[in-house]
């Protein structure tokens, strides 16, 4: 008998979603009860993530164009196109995140590695995002000199994270962060605890997509 493959997010909120759907081998939470207007913490761990490593990701004059999107030239740079984000981590490495949540086939080159199951992927969105983040990291995510989206790498809740600041304006700021899968449980607990005073609530993918849409 053929066994069904089930992929599980490392993130578990202390409540059941009111709307969910099966997508590929994932069960994706679309909506939670009493989500409110934000701030929101969204589990995006089902979104496909690839790692691209090469001695020079911009080598051969744009050799690497994942899904036709050029890798940013400078570390810290981010590009979003067609629901895909590419962020450049250092001189040899870039991350590719499928924010749309849709399935995608990885390019065949050996420079790519699927790291979806290796990390937890979270979005923290809403007006008080930076007030919450300030309690959890010494990194200055609200750096007004940076033009979002931009990547910051460093400790968040003392855990090495890749953090993309998507918007740092006053109205609807938000960040995306990935960390090693094993930290997911404690990472979520720490963020929710820090956000209690700001009415931070878990939210489903639908809330994230609404927020992403209004950024355009």
């Amino acid at each position: 008998m053929k066994k069904e493959i089930i992929r599980r997010s490392p993130v578990a909120f202390n409540m059941r979603p009111v709307k969910e759907e099966r997508r590929g081998h994932w069960v994706v939470a679309l909506e939670y009860e009493n989500e409110g207007d934000g701030p929101h913490l969204v589990d995006l761990s089902h979104c496909i993530r690839w790692d691209l490593q090469d001695s020079d990701p911009n080598g051969d004059r744009g050799k690497w164009k994942p899904l036709g999107i050029p890798v940013p030239e400078q570390p810290g740079g981010c590009i979003i196109k067609n629901g895909v984000m590419i962020n450049r981590m250092n001189n040899t490495q870039a991350a590719i995140w499928h924010l749309s949540g849709e399935e995608a086939e990885m390019p065949p080159e050996t420079a790519y590695t699927d790291v979806t199951d290796a990390t937890a992927f979270l979005a923290l969105t809403g007006e008080k995002t930076f007030a919450i983040a300030e309690k959890l990291t010494a990194l200055d995510l609200s750096d007004l000199d940076g033009t979002p989206p931009f990547l910051i790498q460093g400790p968040f809740v003392h855990v090495p994270c890749q953090i993309v600041v998507m918007a740092n304006g006053a109205e609807q700021p938000g960040i995306l962060l990935t960390c090693s899968r094993g930290y997911a449980h404690d990472m979520v607990a720490a963020i929710l605890e820090a956000g209690k005073a700001f009415n931070l609530r878990p939210a489903g993918e639908a809330a994230f997509k609404r927020w992403l849409e209004q950024l355009k």
């Binding site: 570390p75 810290g76 981590m89 250092n90 001189n91 910051i152 790498q153 460093g154 400790p155 090495p160």
Partner: protein
Amino acid sequence: MSFIITCPICGPRNAYEFGFGGEDKGPRPDEEALSPGDWCDYVHMNQCVAGVAREWWIHRSGCGVWFTTSRDTTRNLEVQVETMEKGPNPPLEKE
């Protein structure tokens, strides 16, 4: 006690984000005519400078890049060194 280290990619950060990679001893010696003693010196012997030393660091909690920087070991502070003076520590003087 912590101090600030400047990552070439991420900028100035708390030293707790970094890992120490040892003294900068220059390029790996040419293996032709390399005696076991010289190799042992290169791998294991350090200058332990009381003053400004050139060292390897890795931004372990950040971008993961290896780089060299100068640190005043008597004050445990990163120091800026003029470009002309940059480079590995001089080789050990043999008795």
